[in-house]
Symmetry: D2
Subunit: 315 residues, 4 copies
């Protein structure tokens, strides 16, 4: 598309679900690794991850849970099936919306509102009260909604957009925090091909994709016992059907802890023996750095003590 | 928006993620209950479910797993938090795409392709081979992509769209089955406010939303034991963060069986006692009518036998 | 052995491991049901239980755990294999021993000590200190030891016996509480053929014999989940090999609770469905009437509430 | 009791529950380690184990399950509380009885039968048929019964004794295999202070004493998950009350496998971390050398493979 010499160096490029102004871009602003790099907007999560896998970018920011921009299951499935990817960071972005207009527009002027369907769904209550008579125009992203304000044949008088929209368009903000929930958040992951692990911080997460050995009642239970038997808390579990194997599932799992925690390493060993497929996606600091509560029974010290005891038995 | 006398009778209306031509509409075509009814396209899943809850439609069709049109987590969260909804049917639609153009266009003419981002992601391989030099234009839905072909300032020469796109636009189909995977499918649910249960067929599913009593390792395990201890297989489990309670989760669960199966009723009793919140979303026939394998230990007959034995003990 | 007309009425007879003076007799003194009845000493536990089964006695007192008089595994196996028996009471007897002699004997005179082997083992430390040079003569019971003091060719100068031995022989007690452990106790059960259940007291136990469906790792776990999934604590579990089925086991189980507790009834239903054989041996008040701690999740009220909820779902 | 110079060398002495002629002695005959050694009869199991612990014997043979000579719970409790003991072998002795008499006695002459109470209980059916009118005299062991035949004031005309009784007394055998069950067996263990492990044979057992961390429903389940999560089968489990801690239990456990099996070592590590007290009693060949079935998921090879995989992740 452009000459290769003008392409930014892949090692200086991060891909994200664009365009500029999305919540995904807001997540990038939280990532120290992305600072000062070229941020490449792409059309979807799969494209972002393929940029990384194929060496066009050194990292991609993708939504993994609860996104208002879509892509959650696409992220999960891509991480499940693509090789060589590793998560190195987690970021949480609060979901807040504003009502943006062309300069000079007042609430009374607003007859038509452009919005991405999910954003529109999240602002229903406010719209019902403030603009009960409005018409709705669908937009393809949370930024495209504002862009419609300035298009030649644009019908929209107002757009639902993220608070950062003023960085990208010359808009007035008629109302802030118009989303129904004041606590909605989206969780993002920064994905690379690096194989060295981020250092252990004590407030880490580890992400895995695990396949059950067969389809029978209790199989999931046996898998989860691998975690419970080491006192490990899960913060996310999602079954995903395996298209090629109807009736079978893989599980996308986030657990509290780092691969260098003895209990986590031990659980991974247990999973690996039990499951036909365990994919390690990385250990990385949690976005919310509340410390992981570790039962003393499963502390590194206790692991070392038990190992010493066993070694004494067998000499 | 229109006079109420011209509104279709709610009892004759089904809402779906529009516009006409989406995969969600394809799912509607599979549902006997939707036959001959007014199909009302809406902008997003939440709107569809609110139509049902607020009596504007008697049913809504929503994607619940693996959608290419988005809305999966929105469906899950809406079913978790909205009251009075019941699932009465499940439908599976194969995900297939075609390359549609204005009549007379040939492959050689195609420079720009319009597509919904997820659809675009699913056709990458074919596009790379057949149209290596194409430019991409983002569309807000799998139908809006085709609509761009006919817009005044439309840039697109071709659109990625569902096979049914010819029912809606006068297009040529230059290529069929251009999706990368030949086995992708999306699962849809038909949601109503009916409280009578669809009859037991022997190939049923039951959907639940369950909250864990507290956040501790092993809590999920204890919950799943309620199913394993009755020989019940889960076909879907997804944790969803509860925004109001950071660090806590609810679980969206599909299990094999009908509420009128003794083992399912027994498991629901167990869950209800264990969990602070169990939401029953319905029992309904599976889209794929393969019979549910039931361990004789958990058959209705065995339940009745055990009850007779116990009654004999206490007389 | 005696004329039948002189036989005591079976409804007035209780069998126990004799002779008079054993700890088993001490347990009988604790049982209101045995008060004023004819106490029939028999040679072993099996004989006592057969007296009940065959109608010669209305009850038998047998040791079930930790006996110094033997018979524990015999009791367990007899309860497992004999039909028609029900436990109606539990009694705990502290295990205390005295050193008994013929009147006038002093410690300096004691050269030879008669004792049942198990009693002898339980008084080793005291004997080592007080009578380091003594010789040991084996006795067939804790009463036979004292009887040897008065036999014509008896070698014993002293006998290890229960504190009640003075009720049966004219002995001097040279030392009390000579057992090594001050806290040893034996647990006894009163067994009948009554099929009405002792009333629920809130501090009850229930005894079961359960067979696993097959021999595989995890089978025991699945069985125990039936209890854990209802918040039921076990106070005893013992595997017993099934002689006719090498490699298979039955389990002798005591749990906290009464068959009329909803959670116990529910667990029994679960076991009955899971196991090829569940034998209910009775619900009866615990010897130590500390109340059973019941998680509110498994209270009768919660069971009733859950049932009401389910009935509402299916109408 | 005797001069120390005449005492047999402890390294050449094995203690057993005597007198000569017991089933315990029959077990000794099966143990290669006991061959050619001095066999020292003692009064009870505790004494036998103390001989080992205190260096008077290098080994003791004790019954661990299903004994007709008593001592099972004594063995279990002694192994639980005494330090420094290790099991090195397991032996199974079929329980068979004969009716022994003084030479020349015929069935018609038999009016009184001497027997150990448990042996008497195991021959009831035969006695009922063959000697319906007999009187019973209690004996303190399965050999003491026969000794009574030759005592001055002995009342017994016949004795129930093991088949080997003729090695010890000049008796006639009037009937063989008079026990009710043709399949009763007793399991014995050879106990030493050796700390080197018997070599792994592929048909091994490992014995443990494990204490639960606290008293709550599900605690036993969590402990057993340590075994189930490694595909390990238990062949014995028995709860034993801890006298010093009312309401708490230790568990006597036999499992299939050797400490040098990776899955067994791993389970012991898990137990050690979980439990306040794990006592390793030894790994030794099973008496019945049927091979242990090992799920390939838990083979040594799979353990090594998983370890290699994990090492690759952390480099």
């Amino acid at each position: 598309m452009t000459d290769s010499e003008t392409l930014p160096d892949a090692s200086q490029t991060v891909s994200f679900l664009g365009p500029a102004g999305t919540f995904t871009e807001a997540a990038l602003k939280l990532a120290p690794e992305a600072k000062g790099k070229h941020w490449k907007p792409v059309a979807n999560v799969l494209e972002a991850l393929m940029d990384v896998q194929q060496g066009r970018s050194f990292a991609a920011m993708v939504a993994i849970e609860n996104s208002v921009e879509g892509g959650v299951t696409a992220s999960q499935d891509a991480l499940s099936t693509m090789d060589g990817l590793r998560i190195i960071g987690e970021y949480i972005v609060p979901i807040r919306f504003v009502l943006a207009t062309r300069p000079g527009t007042t609430m009374r002027d607003v007859q038509t509102v452009a919005a991405h369907p999910v954003a529109y769904g999240q602002c229903r209550r406010w719209l019902h009260q403030a603009l009960p008579e409005h018409l709705y125009v669908q937009a393809s992203s949370n930024v495209a909604s504002a862009r419609q304000l300035f298009e030649e044949d644009g019908l929209a008088d107002a757009a639902i957009a993220p608070p950062t929209i003023q960085d990208h368009f010359d808009v007035d903000i008629l109302a802030e925090d118009i989303q129904d929930s004041s606590i909605a958040r989206t969780r993002f992951l920064l994905v690379t091909t690096r194989t060295d692990l981020p250092s252990r911080t004590g407030t880490d997460k580890t992400s895995l994709i695990v396949t059950l050995p067969d389809e029978r009642p209790g199989g999931l239970l046996s898998m989860l016992e691998q975690f419970a038997a080491r006192g490990i808390n899960l913060s996310m579990i999602t079954s995903r059907p395996i298209p090629e194997s109807p009736g079978r599932y893989r599980f996308v799992i986030d657990l509290d802890g780092h691969l260098e925690d003895a209990r986590v390493a031990d659980a991974l060993l247990g999973l690996r023996r039990y499951s036909p497929s365990v994919k390690f996606l990385g250990s990385y600091p949690r976005a919310v750095p509340s410390p992981v509560a570790v039962d003393p029974a499963y502390s590194d010290e206790n692991y070392a003590e038990a190992r010493g005891w066993l070694d004494g038995l067998v000499r």
